[in-house]
């Protein structure tokens, strides 16, 4: 079983979101980066579990500049066998998918497991794009994944519930909560990560979208406090003022 796990690095949720250069660039000063949570906790760990059971290897792939390597090393410390860095900043979802698909197309991966979304640009898109580029089945928003006999069995979210679906390998899956439990890298993992292979490959440059400008949502008006004894008033406000009931 050969599994490819695309991982992203993102600002920690508690980071201050601000912009520079006329609101065209995200201000990275004082921002702490982390591995994207769904990638670190769910897709990577599930890939490792599958390989531990079935044999094979897990390759992590990341598009980003050289300062991303510490995050790639963290994925190696958690247990991935080797890593690839596509040497360019990630600015457009299509471009990232294109580069991952370009790398993957002739390597014989059985599975590509992405996270459902990155917590910075919230795209939910890279997995589906890779699937279409590689012309393989895609199952999105998967909360469980089993592989056996050349097939993947996946629990996928639908409105108000889930469905169990089966697709043939090779395929692309996007992972979310439920798929695995977070693993904390141990000392042995951290030591061995230093010497695991990390290849750097050049990037294709084609993009389909770009961000022109950012802005911040309108500030919330101050909360209206309501006497806990007077829920009639709350209901009335929701009806008359907010018009939501």
């Amino acid at each position: 079983m050969k599994i490819l796990v695309p991982v992203s690095k993102v600002p920690d949720t508690t980071s201050k979101v601000a912009f520079t250069e006329g609101n065209t660039k995200f201000a990275t000063d004082n921002v702490t980066y982390i591995l994207n949570p769904t990638d670190e906790w769910y897709s990577l760990v599930r890939a490792l579990e599958i390989v531990e059971k079935e044999g094979g290897s897990v390759t992590v792939i990341h598009q980003g500049e050289a300062d991303s390597e510490q995050f790639i090393r963290k994925a190696l410390a958690i247990g991935a066998n080797d890593a690839v860095r596509i040497d360019a900043a990630a600015t457009d979802g299509y471009n990232v998918a294109l580069n991952i698909a370009e790398y993957a197309k002739d390597k014989g991966f059985d599975l590509v497991i992405t996270g459902k979304e990155t917590i910075d640009y919230n795209g939910f898109q890279i997995g589906g794009m890779i699937a279409e580029m590689l012309n393989v089945p895609y199952v999105s928003l998967a909360s469980s994944l089993e592989v056996a006999g050349g097939k993947a069995t996946v629990s996928r979210d639908i409105e108000g519930g889930k469905e169990i679906v089966e697709v043939s390998l090779p395929c692309v899956i996007s992972a979310q909560k439920g798929m695995a439990e977070q693993r904390i890298p141990n000392m042995k993992g951290i030591m061995s990560a230093r010497t695991k292979p990390l290849a750097v490959v050049p990037a294709l440059t084609e993009t389909l979208t770009s961000i022109k400008v950012y802005d911040l949502p309108a500030a919330k008006t101050a909360v209206k406090l309501i006497d806990p004894e007077n829920m009639d008033e709350l209901i009335n406000l929701l009806h008359v003022e907010a018009k939501v009931i």
Partner: protein
């Protein structure tokens, strides 16, 4: 070069998220001086499809192939791309299925995608569409650089307006063959009678402040009365007080209901990330310093165990008087 809206139905009713897509497509077509055409695949009710005319759709292309009733992202993608061959923009909801379809359509049509648009496009000059980023902490205005475009809209981000009109429903074949369906659906599990969280307009949510799963009766009672869906914070789902389908936030679902009532939830940034797009937020918490009050429109500083029962009584009175 028309604008295409992709339509889904559930139990023969067009989904609310698809009504939003139809309306968005019609408004975009107006901006571009063209017509809006809907694409519907699989089993749909003809009258429901014709009624899309009220939202500004002129024509519905309906491929009634029942194989589409089992969802397959690749087959749907191929069908949309085929039927949209002469269109410039494809609009669909970024609901659960949309998240699987839209990225594929983007690649297949070489059309730049906005994954989760929250407003109509700006079409004077560059084609620009806004989308929430950083879990709602900012808005990015994306330019789509390609001639063809895919816009996947965030559920509940625009108010639809109905007018007059009826769309002509035309039976078509989207050229998809049996071999294009590669997903086998083994089983489906739906909480029956419950309102789907991601589609709900009203949501009642509770967190660790409720102390234990046995105390959720009042939350469910309030939700049932209001016709609301129930949600919860992550720790509550993690310890299985509530099912994981209810977990909202950065690692759970992102929702934008008209009303979000949060009971006994502190309002951590990771929780807010999933709910801060809600139109109106009500917070019930014993701690006046709880961060959630900063994100709330209405706040009740009080004990959930006395406030929620009072709220239920007040809502009952309101309902009785308004009927």
């Amino acid at each position: 070069m028309s604008v295409i809206a992709y339509i889904e139905s559930n139990n023969n009713r067009v989904k609310k998220t698809s009504l939003e897509a139809a309306y968005y497509a019609a408004q975009t077509a107006k901006l571009l001086g063209t017509e809006a055409i809907a694409v519907a695949l699989g089993t749909h009710d003809a009258a429901e499809l014709a009624a899309l005319g009220q939202l500004g759709i002129t024509k519905v292309l309906h491929d009634a192939n029942a194989r589409f009733d089992s969802f397959d992202s690749g087959a749907v993608c191929k069908a949309i791309a085929t039927l949209a061959a002469n269109s410039s923009v494809v609009v669909l909801s970024y609901n659960q299925n949309g998240k699987a379809i839209a990225p594929r359509v983007s690649v297949r049509m070489k059309a730049g995608l906005i994954p989760g648009a929250t407003a109509l496009p700006e079409t004077n000059g560059d084609f620009v569409v806004s989308k929430n980023v950083f879990s709602g902490k900012a808005i990015a205005h994306y330019q789509i650089k390609t001639d063809k475009k895919v816009i996947a809209i965030t559920p509940n981000s625009l108010q639809i307006v109905r007018g007059e009109g009826s769309a002509a429903v035309e039976a078509v074949s989207s050229g998809v063959s049996d071999a294009d369906f590669v997903t086998v659906i083994k089983s489906e599990e739906k909480a029956s009678g419950k309102i789907a969280l991601t589609e709900a307009e009203l949501v009642v949510s509770a967190g660790r402040g409720l102390k234990g799963p046995e105390n959720w009766g009042m939350i469910e009672e309030l939700a049932n009365l209001m016709g609301a869906a129930t949600a919860c914070s992550r720790p509550v789902a993690d310890v299985h007080w509530r099912p994981h389908e209810e977990h909202v936030g950065q690692t759970g679902f992102t929702i934008r209901p008209n009303l979000y009532i949060a009971v006994g939830i502190s309002g951590a940034i990771q929780h807010l990330a999933g709910v801060n797009g809600s139109k109106t937020i009500v917070v019930v918490n014993t701690d006046p310093e709880a961060p959630f009050f900063k994100a709330a429109d209405y706040g009740v500083v009080g004990d959930a165990f006395t406030v929620v029962p009072k709220l239920i009584e007040s809502y009952k009175k309101f309902k009785a008087s308004s009927h």
